[in-house]
C-alpha cells in the first residue's frame, strides 16, 4: 500500500464510521410514522382481543364489553345516590389518618388541581385557560356536608363532570378528608409532598 492517501475514499470512510458510531451509541435517532418492521413475527401479534381494541365478532364492534344490565362491578357499586339522600347514604367510614390525607392530597392534585388549583382556591392552570370560574373550595365548600362533597365528586355538578370513573370510593373520601384538612389549615397544600 504505497502512494498518497486518496481524499474521497478517506472522507467516505470517515463519514461511514461517524454514522455507525453515532447510531450505535444512541445519539442518532430517526423517527418513523410506520410501525416497527417485523422480519420474524414470533407470535408477536396473537389473534386475541386485547384491551381497548375493536372486535369484528360483536355487532357493535366493541372489543371491551359493557357490563350486563343489573350487574355490579366486583370492586364497588355504581354511584346512584340522589341529592336529597346525600347525608343519609354517603357515610364517611374511613379515619383521617396521615396516610389517608396523603392519599387525598395525591388524588386531589391529580384530578382536582387542574381547575381548583393545589390550594383549592380555584384558578388552576386549566381554569386560567378558559374553564369557567371553579368555586373556591376553601370558602364555598366549607358549609357543605361531607356527603354532599362526596356527591359532587361522584356525580358532578354544573359544568364539572363525574369523577366516579377515575376515583375509587375510598379515594373520594380521602379527597373529602384532604379538603377538610386544607379548610382547617392543618395541612400544607403543595404540588409534591405531603406536609403536615
Amino acid at each position: 500500500m504505497k502512494g498518497k492517501i486518496k481524499f474521497f475514499p478517506t472522507l467516505l470512510f470517515t463519514l461511514v464510521v461517524v454514522f455507525w458510531v453515532a447510531l450505535l451509541s444512541g445519539n442518532l435517532m430517526w423517527t418513523s410514522n410506520n410501525p416497527p418492521l417485523q422480519i420474524i413475527d414470533d407470535m408477536d401479534d396473537q389473534a386475541k382481543v386485547k384491551p381497548q381494541v375493536s372486535s369484528a365478532f360483536f355487532a357493535d364492534g366493541k372489543g371491551t364489553r359493557d357490563p350486563l344490565e343489573n350487574t355490579l362491578p366486583i370492586t364497588g357499586h355504581k354511584y346512584s345516590v340522589e341529592l336529597d339522600d346525600v347525608d343519609v347514604k354517603n357515610i364517611n367510614n374511613i379515619p383521617a389518618t396521615d396516610i389517608v390525607l396523603a392519599r387525598g392530597q395525591n388524588r386531589f392534585n391529580i384530578y382536582c388541581s387542574p381547575c381548583h388549583n393545589y390550594d383549592g382556591k380555584g384558578n388552576g392552570l386549566v381554569a386560567q385557560r378558559g374553564f369557567s370560574n371553579p368555586p373556591n373550595l376553601m370558602e364555598n365548600a366549607k358549609n357543605l356536608s361531607d356527603g354532599r362533597i362526596f356527591h359532587i365528586i361522584s356525580a358532578g355538578q354544573n359544568i364539572m363532570s363525574s369523577y366516579a370513573d377515575k376515583t375509587s370510593e375510598l379515594d373520594r373520601w380521602a379527597i373529602v378528608h384532604y379538603i377538610r384538612a386544607m379548610q382547617k389549615g392543618s395541612v400544607n397544600p403543595q404540588p409534591v409532598a405531603f406536609n403536615k
Partner: protein, 250 residues
C-alpha cells in the same frame, strides 16, 4: 499480511469474504436490535394531541387521563369523555376539538394509534411498577416534553432485565407530573431510596442483593401499619425485579 505465493485472486476473495462477514454481522446484530428497529416510532395520531401542552405546560398529571395504571395491567388510553371534562368549556369552538366533539356526540371512539407495544407473549403489569414508585419516564421517556409521542426506549427483553437486575441505575423515581402515590414520603426521599442513598429519616437504605428472598427496604412498613384502611391503594416496597422466565411469560 499475505506471503508472496498467494495470488491476487485469492487475496481479493479473502478480503471480500471478510467484508461480507462484517456487513452481515453488523446488519443482523444491529438491524434486528430494537434500539434500531423500534426506537423512534412516532405514529401520526388522528387528533394532534400535544403532551407537551397538557402535561408540560398545564401540569396535568399522567394519571388524570391514564387513570387505570395504578390498578390494572393495561394503561388505558382515555375515553372521549375524559377530553370533554375540560374541552366542554376550554377551546370548545376550536376546529381541532371538532373531532373530539363529533366522537362524543356520536358515541364513536377516537382511534388513537398505539405507540408502545410489547409482543403478545409478554405480560407487563403497569400497576406493579407504578406502585413500586417507578416513574412513567423510566420506560416512556419524558413524555411531557413531547409534542408527538415517540418511542424512546427499546422495550426489549435485555432492556427489561438490565433494570430488573440493577434498578438503582436505571429507574427514574416518581416525579410530581406522573401523579404516582409515594405515601408519606416526598418524591425526593423516594428518589434517594431508589438511588440507594440515605433517606432523611436515616434508617432505610436497601440492599439490592438477590439471595433467594430479596431483602427489600423496610421503610414503607411503618406507613402500611398507619393506614388501617383496607382497600386503600398503597405504594409497594422497592425490590429487585423478578428474573425467572415465568414472571413475564405465562
Amino acid at each position: 499480511m499475505f506471503t508472496k505465493e498467494v495470488n491476487k485472486k485469492t487475496k481479493t476473495t479473502i478480503w471480500a469474504g471478510l467484508a461480507l462477514l462484517t456487513i452481515v454481522g453488523v446488519v443482523s446484530y444491529y438491524g434486528f436490535n430494537n434500539v434500531v428497529t423500534d426506537v423512534g416510532y412516532r405514529p401520526e395520531q388522528p387528533i394532534p394531541y400535544s403532551h407537551k401542552l397538557h402535561a408540560g405546560e398545564l401540569k396535568i398529571s399522567c394519571m388524570y387521563c391514564h387513570n387505570t395504571v395504578e390498578k390494572s395491567a393495561h394503561a388505558a388510553v382515555p375515553s372521549t369523555s375524559t377530553c370533554m371534562n375540560c374541552h366542554i368549556a376550554v377551546k370548545a369552538e376550536s376546529p381541532k376539538i371538532a373531532k373530539i366533539k363529533e366522537s362524543w356526540e356520536n358515541n364513536k371512539p377516537i382511534e388513537w394509534r398505539r405507540v408502545h407495544k410489547l409482543p403478545d407473549y409478554v405480560r407487563f403489569n403497569h400497576s406493579r411498577h407504578i406502585r413500586a414508585q417507578i416513574d412513567c419516564a423510566s420506560c416512556h421517556g419524558e413524555v411531557e416534553k413531547m409534542g408527538v409521542v415517540t418511542q424512546m426506549k427499546p422495550l426489549s427483553m435485555s432492556w427489561c432485565l438490565d433494570c430488573h437486575r440493577n434498578p438503582q441505575e436505571f429507574v427514574v423515581p416518581a416525579r410530581a407530573v406522573s401523579g404516582i402515590f409515594t405515601g408519606l414520603n416526598s418524591n425526593e426521599e423516594v428518589a434517594k431510596l431508589i438511588k440507594n442513598e440515605q433517606p432523611s429519616w436515616g434508617e432505610g437504605k436497601w440492599k439490592p442483593v438477590r439471595d433467594g428472598k430479596t431483602e427489600a427496604i423496610g421503610i414503607l412498613d411503618h406507613e402500611l401499619k398507619q393506614s388501617g384502611v383496607p382497600g386503600l391503594v398503597m405504594p409497594k416496597k422497592l425490590a429487585l425485579g423478578p428474573e425467572n422466565c415465568s414472571s413475564c411469560h405465562y
